[in-house]
Symmetry: C2
Subunit: 136 residues, 2 copies
């Protein structure tokens, strides 16, 4: 079950955030609420934060498609909000979420599935949990 | 002890990253390598990533001061690199670090020391580990 906020409370939070540094966006870091794995990083505008808080389901702003985007709207791999933290500068938000299936469109649980080895190569450290060709 | 890379290896990594989406910057998420706490989020340009990889000490790009910035250059609260991960889109990097003292300039261990409570208030959840007025 996700946590939701009333519209008035959500508006007060949004009013406190600083969207000025990234042309109307803030950074959102997304962490698995149980394992603390960092699942992904995305951007959100005022509308995406409001929608996230009032529905309890993570929404972002897609820069490539220039629109509000509910994570999982195609795949069903939604993120239920469990906890929200705001950073010292009011320009970055941390979502702790219950991630359904996987966060990454490449089929991995999280987007950071490549680790830089000491000899400079990228090692695959994540495990594929779904086949993107069957989902998208 | 931090992990370092040779210049040629570091250059190959930087060449792979996509700095085009944020005017020459990428996002860096910084996580405590032992507790998995998210310490901060920052931006880096090519030079900052090169410097981080070749010195083993985290460097970023300060947008407010428009310059390369070694985290901890004033406070001494440096970040030794332990592991580096790259996301699926090559535009976000995860630094797992050994943080000396604290990451946040407000005196907290990490920047996300305020949690949004269910009634919409921001609760202080972090503990102050140093007094900023004595450090800066």
């Amino acid at each position: 079950m996700s946590v939701k906020w009333k519209l008035k409370q959500a508006e007060e939070v949004v009013d406190q955030l600083d969207f000025s540094k990234l042309n109307g966006l803030i950074t959102v870091v997304v962490q698995d609420w149980q394992t603390n794995e960092i699942l992904m990083c995305a951007f959100a505008n005022r509308e995406a934060i409001l929608k996230s808080l009032t529905t309890g389901i993570a929404h972002y702003y897609s820069r490539s498609q220039d629109k509000l985007w509910q994570k999982g709207e195609i795949s069903g791999h939604i993120q239920e909000l469990k906890e929200i933290y705001i950073d010292c500068d009011d320009d970055t938000v941390l979502f702790k979420v219950d991630q359904k299936v996987a966060a990454c469109h490449e089929g991995f649980r999280g987007c950071f599935y490549r680790k830089l080895s000491e000899n400079g190569e990228l090692e695959l450290v994540g495990e594929k949990v779904f086949d993107p060709s069957e989902v998208y």
